[in-house]
Symmetry: C2
Subunit: 341 residues, 2 copies
Amino acid sequence: MKRKVTLKQIAKELDVSISTVSKSLKDSAEISEDTRQKVQAFAKLYNYKPNNIALSLKNKKTKTIGIIIPEIVHHFFATVISGVENVANEHGYNVIVCLSDVSFDKEVINMEMLANGSIDGFIMSLSKETQLKKDFHHITEVINQGMPVVMFDRVTNDIHCDKVIIDDNLAAFQAVQTLIDKGMKKIALITTVDYVSVGKLRTDGYLKALKTNDIKVDDQIILKIEDIDNCEGLIENLIQHHKIDAVFAVNELFAVTAIKSALKMGLKIPEDISVVGFTDGIISKYSSPSITTVSQNGIKMGGKAAKMLIDRLESEDEDDEHYRTEIIETHLVERESTPTL
Amino acid sequence: MKRKVTLKQIAKELDVSISTVSKSLKDSAEISEDTRQKVQAFAKLYNYKPNNIALSLKNKKTKTIGIIIPEIVHHFFATVISGVENVANEHGYNVIVCLSDVSFDKEVINMEMLANGSIDGFIMSLSKETQLKKDFHHITEVINQGMPVVMFDRVTNDIHCDKVIIDDNLAAFQAVQTLIDKGMKKIALITTVDYVSVGKLRTDGYLKALKTNDIKVDDQIILKIEDIDNCEGLIENLIQHHKIDAVFAVNELFAVTAIKSALKMGLKIPEDISVVGFTDGIISKYSSPSITTVSQNGIKMGGKAAKMLIDRLESEDEDDEHYRTEIIETHLVERESTPTL
DNA sequence: TTTCAACACGAAAACGTTTTCGGGAGCTGT
DNA sequence: ACAGCTCCCGAAAACGTTTTCGTGTTGAAA
């Protein structure tokens, strides 16, 4: 087992100084052709590669991005990571992933762990619990220490930083408008509790669409679900006891569960009932019938977030206080769960 | 913006030496009660946290695990990461994620990038291209440098290291046997090309089950798919032109595509045709009908891999050459795509 | 021969820690 | 008064780099 070779070892072996070795490897003009060649040959032979940690310490840059998300077993977040990783790699950055598991405490611990030199900047989406508590001290603290943060999707106005989002409100509005255009009147909404930022915005979009079209809002067919793991009964109940034309769900899981419920009670989709979801994930695509849904390009979102972060990391003026909020465009992917025309 | 404070700054401010500060913070008995309190109070006030990079350099340990997988937008791999992250966190480790994007070159680049001091050890699953080329020099090199590697799922016998796998062969055998027990005779197989290790093993399990039950193998109903993105036509073709009782698919996507094809041509599931998949992911669970499938506990797999890696990292004798291969148990999750009894 | 530039290289500091070792101050016991 | 001891603390090395600055040697010009 041959351990990694260091500059010092090469220097010793070749009987020159460490500086000479370092400069030779960097093709410095200070070093004679002879020595340079000798050193380079030796370095190649022993497969010398500079130690990243030492470089990080010296340069005060780790070339690493930290990303904190609520969970990774979630198609959308996985695509975001994919996007981040891609752009990061192109720019020579690595990606450290931390999961908050929807817990405020873990989010805080993870941030503190990474903030102590391990990374150059954060990309993050707030955990549900953090959104509920509205406690963002861990984030502001990191920002105050001069570490850039880019938030995506589940963001908050309470924090002043770069953000990447979609226009949840508008996307929901358009989705519901499409249903109305297809002649639906009784459109149910399956959404999350209000403190989840995106859920609230999508709910508002739904309400706005109804109002714009003079459709009375019926609270009976608006379902706010707290615990996503136990949504089946509630959704079945909704569909069973109300005569509805369509369902607008704020995520894939609610949408597919609505479909299962409808099929179970013998309804035909989209003839008897239409379903529109949110997030163009793997479920919507492979469901039978496939689900009409609002696309939410996670790859693009992650890529954009990474780009913004790296731009800031490599920009000249360190503390440019001009933060931007990028909006990723969405569109409705029409599939089998809604009638054509 | 107050930058992170260092030992040196505290020392200067309090007019003591760096050593004194360091020792005070570690509650060393060498330091007087007075000084200790003074230092600790000051450190707390300025929220001192030791710099991880400096620690890494000193200790020659980064407390970071690198994980290299083909893709992250893939339910199984996401669950594995989740499992790794969980166990890693419990032991104070961070996780750097790199995606090979099914490319040999990216796998090599990523490994070399991380191997230069950024991490303490690897957890990885081979990319398809690497399995095809059978070129593992990048991995052996890393191992030779004394960096432990744990492989999972897509492994190879050509590398001598710790591994975590499932018994693909047995699991496939049992799945097919179950179909046979339910009276099926004409069981089609939808699998990958042979150089994908797990695909090959599952195919072998299928063949073994048929042989054990004296069912003649019919090459006509064995479909080997190279490009997963264009499998629809092939699968439709298979189901349309052969009268088959059941389909055994080596992954979720093949399974759900088979279901869509069958439904499309008016077949009833499971009455007319049964489907069994592999990997208990989100698709199988939410498909209509839901899919009977071989569970493959990614969380447990990732957790086990992380445990093995950390054990090795923290074990006394550095180069214990006794490598283990852990087998994660699987079982068939029976759902709506197969008849009960 | 002296002077000075060009050339080739080395010493040392710096990044932020931890830890070993040495030593000064103050006290006790003779 | 002095050895010897304990108690506190600081200097310095080490981890592996990069980079600035200093310096010795050589050759050419005067």
